[in-house]
Amino acid sequence: MFSHHVTRELSAYCNGELSPEESSRVAEHLIRCRRCRSEHEVVRFGVSVAERLPLIQAPESLWSAIESGRTKIPPMRHGKAWGWQRQFAAVAASILVVVGLAALWLYTRESRPFWQVARIDGTPRIGREVITKDGRLPVGEWLETDASSRAKIDVASIGQVEIDPNTRVRLLETKPTEHRLELLRGRMSAYIWAPPRLFFVDTPSAVAADLGCAYTLEVDDEGSALLRVTAGWVALELRDRESMVPAGAACATRPGIGPGTPYFEDASPLFRQAITKFDFEPADSDWSKIPSLDLMLAEARPRDTLTLWHLLSRVEGKDRERVYDRMVALVPAPAALERERVLRLDEYMLEFWKDALTNVWTDESFLRKKWIKVWTKGLGKIKGGEGKK
């Protein structure tokens, strides 16, 4: 059933680029495959928005500009041709350009989009200005707290971020399709009630992409980070490396390496220590005579298949087989799971298994309680804000 997924052909299918036979094969598959059907909905929506791109009329002046460019004779490069008048004109033009750019910079600086910031404790600063009650954090500007300061940021209308002491953050982007913060050091807690992948936090070692959640993120002076998720899911990404972190789990990152392997915080201390060694200090054999992977496999509980699932693509050969075997021993494999395809890191089979394991990784009742809390808090604040207006 899973050997004929059609997700890669969906754009060609929507654009009418497939042969009649291929097209009917895709259509038949979509009827019986829920996953491809939902992917088809996404691609079809992408196609329908792309189709709204209008053709833009070129300005009437374009032809005359081309004509004048055509007849223009390139300037002769004789030394005498650059008389003092030309040099004066060039200097004057340069000054005008500099003044113009300065004016543009001042104008754009003043009209930058911003987030509202409120002081919680102490004297947080935006740039050089101390916030006594509240202030504005414009795009490109830093918000900094010292050892006794805390602040709260309203992330447009999609959530809130609390900034702890000794933290430095910068607003990188805020627009309907993306809100992005940079956390250079310190600790922040985010509560986001927007659709997934609208809110991002850049750290020196990975990007945290919100998938509808609440979490804390801490960055030390070396740029290493620790993500702890309290509700929903967060994706930690750096180039091709990605870790999916659900509620109750954590994940560390290191500069130059990116996100490590996620783990549940209630896993055994030995399990967690073995992950750190495996991810970031694989050459350190002094701490234990037993290899890190062996310790993880031995210590893993059914819930720790979260960690093991991520390990599948991070180990090779016999080690990958051992991880697979341990996983199916901890949680019975779904009937449709194909061992060989998992070991080949077949994308669809891995996703299928992840979907099946999600119930083991997430405690529904716990999540529901957390979500109700987050939503109630968020909606309460929105309503409170409206009341003040």
Binding site: V43, A50, L62, T177
Partner: protein, 196 residues
């Protein structure tokens, strides 16, 4: 969409191109009128709505077309040859502009903010603006196939010719581009569906 290219290209045949090679101004004008809006549109979308930059690109492309049309030997279609020139001009301009990126970025942000105040009154303008902004934010290798498909109405095979890659690569990039657009504009889904 696909009809755009077909309808206009009927005006430009081998004789027109030959006349351009011989320096016939009227033939070149016909070529210009046929392709100007499409060349301009690609440049506008590539440079996030900056029509000044787009005008410069279009001017460069047509001037280059004038001076190098003798090099067109008909190995590929004229359209492929032209759009390859447009794609290269956009890439060169992007490289050149990287040095001034902060100004460009701030300018586009300002434009979005200004537009935002009007969006509440003009839902359709908002939708078009958001689509344009989302297109501009795509990575260049995902954006260009989208533009060649939806602005120029090229087939996958023609896009592959322009970008010098395989048809499979075009399909894959369009797939990723569509998904990226859907992700970025998911909050407008109801509006888009209502407008269909």
């Amino acid at each position: 969409m696909g009809q755009r290219a077909v309808m206009n290209e009927t005006n430009v045949d081998e004789r027109v191109i030959e006349a351009c090679r011989n320096g016939d101004r009227e033939a070149f004008r016909l070529l210009f009128e046929t392709y100007k809006d499409r060349v301009f549109s690609i440049a506008v979308y590539t440079f996030n709505g900056d029509e000044g930059a787009a005008g410069d690109i279009a001017q460069q492309v047509f001037l280059k077309l004038m001076t190098s049309i003798n090099q067109f030997r008909g190995d590929s279609s004229f359209t492929t040859w032209l759009y390859r020139m447009v794609v290269n001009a956009c890439i060169d301009e992007r490289r050149r502009r990287r040095r001034f990126l902060p100004f460009g970025e701030l300018e586009s942000r300002t434009r979005m903010t200004d537009r935002k105040s009007q969006e509440k009154r003009f839902a359709r303008i908002e939708l078009a603006g958001c689509v344009q902004a989302a297109i501009a934010e795509l990575r260049p290798k995902l954006r260009m196939p989208i533009l060649l498909k939806y602005v120029e109405g090229l087939s996958y095979e023609e896009i592959a010719d322009v970008l010098s890659c395989s048809k499979g690569t075009v399909a894959s990039r369009l797939n990723r581009g569509h998904k990226e657009l859907a992700r970025r504009l998911g909050h407008l889904r109801d509006q888009v569906i209502a407008g269909e």
